[in-house]
Amino acid sequence: MSFDSLAEIKVQVETPDYDSGNLQSILSEIKFALEQLLQQNKTHCIDLRAMPWSPGEETRLEEYLGRGEISVELNALGKSSFYETRFSGIWIVTHYNQQDEIIGKLIEITYMPDMIYAQYEDVKNSLERLQQP
C-alpha cells in the first residue's frame, strides 16, 4: 500500500481538554483588530500557522468563531477557501496546494479579503483577450 499524502492515512486524534492560553490571547488580538477596523479602517491579519497550538486548540477556535453568511472558493494553484465567521468582519482564509495540503491559514480582520477582488493585472489581461480578433 502506498500513500501520496498524510491526509490519506485515517488518524483520529483524541484531544485532551486543556487550554494553553492561546485562545484567550488570540481572541483579545481579534477584538482589538475589530476596534481598529471600525475606528481607523485598519485591517489586520494573523498567521494561524505561527501559533504554538496545543492539541485541538485550533479546532476549538474555529468552532467558536463559527460560520457566517458568506463563503468564497478560489481556484488558483490549488483551492483556497474564504469564509466570514459568525462575527462579521472576521474571516478565515485557508490556502491549499494542488495536493490539497494546507499551505497557508490566516484570520483576516477586514471588510473583504483583498484577494477576492478582481486584480488589476488580471482585468487588463481580460480586456486584451476580448480585444483579440
Partner: protein, 363 residues
C-alpha cells in the same frame, strides 16, 4: 542564472495575479514573516531570478535530504524547486560519476559568484579517505565549490556543528562547515534533521530577497531559531505551575503535564518545532509525549542522557520566567505571542518595509 524572473515564469504558466498573491502568502508564512509583509514579498518576487543551487552531501545519513524531499508546504517540486535550479545533488540526480561532477563544474562556471552551496554532513579531517565523492575528498570538494559561491547553507546538525560524526571520541576528526569556511556567509540550519519547512524557508528567503536572513550568534536564522522550544511550548503553563509527568505513563503524562523531569531539553534548545511542528503540522515531539532532545544545539549527542532532567535552569529559562511574571499574564498566552511580538516589532520599526531591508548581507 535564469534570465526570466519568477513572476514571468508564473505568468507563462497562466497563473493569475490572484494565484501569484496566494503563492506570496504561502511563501511569507513559510519564511515565518508576518502577513503584513505579503506585499513586500510580492514586490520582491516580481524581480527575483532563479538562483543556481549546488548541494554537497558529506559525512551524513541522508536524513536531511529525506526531510527536505518530504517537505510539503509549499511542495518542493511544485513551489520552491521549480524556481530554484538544483544543478547538483548527487543523491537525487540521475547522473553519477564524471557526468555528475561535470554538472557541478558547469553550474559553477555559469553562475560564478552567484550560486548557493547547500551542505549536509560533516567534513572528516583525520583522514580524507573516510568520505570521498568521485575520488575527491570532502575538504577539497568543499573548498573548490565554495570558492565561487554567494553563500553556504549548512543543513543539519552535522554540517552546522559536526553532529553525530563529531560525537566523542570523534574518530574521523569531523568538523562543521563554519569551522572551515571563513570568507563566505555561512547560514546554519541545524536539526537532526532540520524541520523541512525551515530548510525551504531559508532557500525561499534567498530566492525572494537575494540575501540571507538575520542570524543569531550560532549562525542560525533568527526567524526560526530565535526562541527556545520551552518559550513556545504549549505545555509551558504546567511547567510554571510545577506540574510534571514523572514517568511516561503516569497520571501527569496522561494529562499532558510538562516533560521537564523526563529529560526535556526544551529550555536550552532553539528551534521552531513548537509552532511549525512536523509531518504537515500534525504534531511534534513534545505533543507526542516525549521531551525535546535538543537536536538543534551543538554537541547534543554528548550532553548526557536524553532522559536526565536538566540540572540548572539556564539563563534563557530565568529570563523567560521573569518576563512572564513582569507582564502579569498567563505564561501560555505570553508564550503564544512571543513569536508574533517579534514580528510586529520588526514591522513597527519600519514604517514601510522595503526589499532593501532584507539585503543585510549582500556583499
Amino acid at each position: 542564472m535564469n534570465k526570466k524572473t519568477l513572476f514571468e515564469l508564473l505568468q507563462q504558466q497562466g497563473i493569475t495575479r490572484r494565484g501569484f498573491l496566494k503563492y506570496c502568502t504561502a511563501l511569507t508564512s513559510l519564511m515565518a514573516l508576518p502577513p503584513a509583509m505579503i506585499p513586500t514579498v510580492a514586490k520582491a518576487l516580481e524581480s527575483a531570478r532563479r538562483p543556481s543551487v549546488i548541494w554537497l552531501s558529506f559525512q551524513e545519513c541522508t536524513g536531511c535530504t529525506e526531510s527536505l524531499t518530504r517537505s510539503h508546504s509549499p511542495t518542493v517540486e511544485g513551489l520552491i524547486f521549480d524556481y530554484i535550479s538544483l544543478d547538483y545533488h548527487h543523491t537525487l540526480q540521475a547522473a553519477s560519476g564524471a557526468a555528475a561532477e561535470h554538472a557541478r563544474e558547469q553550474a559553477m562556471k555559469d553562475n560564478y559568484g552567484k550560486y548557493l552551496v547547500v551542505v549536509d554532513g560533516s567534513i572528516p579531517l583525520a583522514d580524507p579517505g573516510y568520505s570521498t565523492i568521485a575520488g575527491i575528498s570532502n575538504l577539497d570538494m568543499l573548498n573548490e565549490t565554495v570558492a565561487g559561491a554567494a553563500a553556504v547553507i549548512a543543513v543539519g546538525t552535522c554540517s552546522a556543528y559536526g553532529g553525530l560524526p563529531h560525537a566523542a571520541p570523534n574518530p574521523t576528526g569531523a568538523v562543521s562547515v563554519s569551522s572551515l569556511i571563513k570568507d563566505k556567509p555561512v547560514i546554519n540550519v541545524p536539526g537532526c534533521p532540520p524541520i523541512p519547512t525551515v530548510i525551504t524557508g531559508v532557500l525561499a528567503h534567498y530566492l525572494t530577497f537575494g540575501s540571507i536572513p538575520e542570524l543569531d550568534e550560532l549562525g542560525r536564522p533568527k526567524v526560526f531559531y530565535g526562541q527556545s522550544i520551552h518559550d513556545r511550548c504549549y505545555r509551558r503553563p504546567f511547567y510554571d505551575k510545577g506540574l510534571f509527568a514523572e514517568t511516561f505513563d503516569d497520571e501527569g503524562a496522561k494529562k499532558g503535564w510538562c516533560l521537564y523531569r523526563l529529560g526535556c531539553k526544551g529550555p536550552m534548545t532553539y528551534n521552531a518545532c513548537a509552532t511549525l511542528k512536523w509531518n504537515q503540522q500534525t504534531s511534534w515531539p513534545v505533543e507526542s509525549g516525549h521531551g525535546c532532545l535538543g537536536c538543534s544545539e551543538p554537541n547534543f549527542w554528548d550532553a548526557g542522557s536524553f532522559y536526565q532532567a536538566l540540572s540548572i535552569p539556564d539563563g534563557d529559562y530565568a529570563r523567560a520566567a521573569g518576563y512572564a511574571a513582569a507582564a502579569g499574564v498567563a505564561v501560555g498566552a505570553a508564550a503564544g505571542f512571543v513569536h508574533q511580538k517579534t514580528k510586529s516589532t520588526a514591522v513597527a520599526q519600519h514604517s514601510e518595509i522595503s526589499v532593501d531591508d532584507f539585503s543585510l548581507n549582500k556583499d
